[in-house]
Subunit: 243 residues, 2 copies
């Protein structure tokens, strides 16, 4: 096959980017007691990968992360956070990029910029997957949500990157909860608990959970809505305004 | 003045390192209700800086961080953790390295590798400063502990790096406590509380603190030592063996 113009342009664009550094994005999706992660499949290969890319020489790394995510998946205005730099000394020096290019009609030279060692800065986000509609870019056949338990084998160390992002998400959930913007404007304690149980992948005791959440001092309790059965109506909460 | 051989060698060693990436280490020191941070003063200049350096092309970044810290300060076997990548688009493109080189007898060419943009990977650690004896390297006049409140103006964004490391330290203290290895084998709840109060820079309520610490399930309570005044003797604790 003959390579696409987009692929040729990309493979010739190494001079635009900071050498030896990439960004990979772990986008977790939550909805209705399910936790998923967003994965691309490279065109014409069996290579599954996180949405990733490179940092332009004049670009702040956080801007690069947002641009890369949008270019690869179409997702915009996502609250991305750095969580770790993956820096094994041989990282990137395997056949991944060579196989992808070959499958799409180009043989990379031995000194091609894509074949060098790459550090990768990991960013993660948590979104409502029912409201985020990813679309594959020109280099991918698919861009889809996968259950964490059913994740395919990913290229390079991307499975490890997902695992470490998950550990960070679990550890930081209390602190990032407001920013993730996953819940409706007002929500019940049950809805909040379902979010925690899904992400932590374990049941929590209702009383302990409520006590802990209230102790974080991020919730504002609203009045019960009058339904005629007030004693059964749950309290509604919203996140406190922090301004 | 004529430049030292070490400086000439270093300035000619750019090909050994990954381009555009550095590492900076924020070493917090705790002892006796004081929290300090380790700062170098560049030779023959008024430039104060965190211990930092570059990643060898064949080196894991965590190994690089440990090597850099030892080379710059003499400190070994420190538990370093990554906390953030500093990636402003103009980072490193100021006069800092030019002024240091000039003050030590070398004028850098405009395209010198030290004058390009650098991302920096921040690592932090918390040690007992009474047991850590830092020594300056050949590029520094001093390598000393500074009170956080009395920190000098540092080069580049190093003051911001310290601030972000401090926020991470405070946020992660519960999780990193065992690894930091700051307390004696056995310690009292008062000693633990003094550590927290110093790092968080605020007083804590004794009963709340004790309840929270016990809820973390990392402490093992030992028997009181018989002193003849058992009712006054505090309990001793140690960290649970996690193997």
């Amino acid at each position: 096959m003959s390579p696409s113009k987009e692929l040729v342009d990309f493979l010739n664009s190494g001079h635009l980017y900071m050498p030896g550094i990439s960004i990979d994005c772990v986008i977790f999706g939550f909805h209705n007691r399910q936790l998923k992660v967003l994965v691309l499949q490279f065109k014409s290969t069996d290579g599954y990968a996180l949405p990733g890319g490179f940092i332009r020489k004049e670009e702040h790394i956080d801007d690069a992360a947002r641009r890369i995510l949008e270019e690869r998946t179409g997702l915009k205005e996502i609250y991305l956070e750095q969580f770790h730099v993956f820096g094994d000394s041989e990282r990137g020096r395997d056949d991944t990029h060579r196989k992808f290019s070959r499958a799409n009609g180009i043989e990379l030279e031995a000194d091609h910029w894509l074949l060098q060692r790459f550090l990768s800065i990991g960013y993660y986000a948590l979104v409502d997957f029912s409201r985020a509609m990813p679309t594959p870019d020109v280099f991918s056949d698919t861009c889809q949500w996968y259950d964490l338990a059913g994740l395919p084998d990913l290229i390079l160390d991307h499975n490890r990157i997902v695992q470490q992002a998950l550990e960070t998400l679990r550890l930081m959930l209390d602190n990032k909860l407001v920013g993730f913007n996953l819940l409706p404007e007002t929500f019940t304690m049950n809805e909040l608990q379902a979010l925690y149980e899904t992400i932590l992948d374990k049941p929590l005791l209702r009383a302990n959970f409520q006590r802990k959440m209230l102790s974080l001092e991020i919730l504002e309790r609203l009045e019960k809505k009058w339904t005629g059965k007030a004693h059964k109506a749950p309290y509604l909460y919203r996140f406190q305004d922090r301004h």
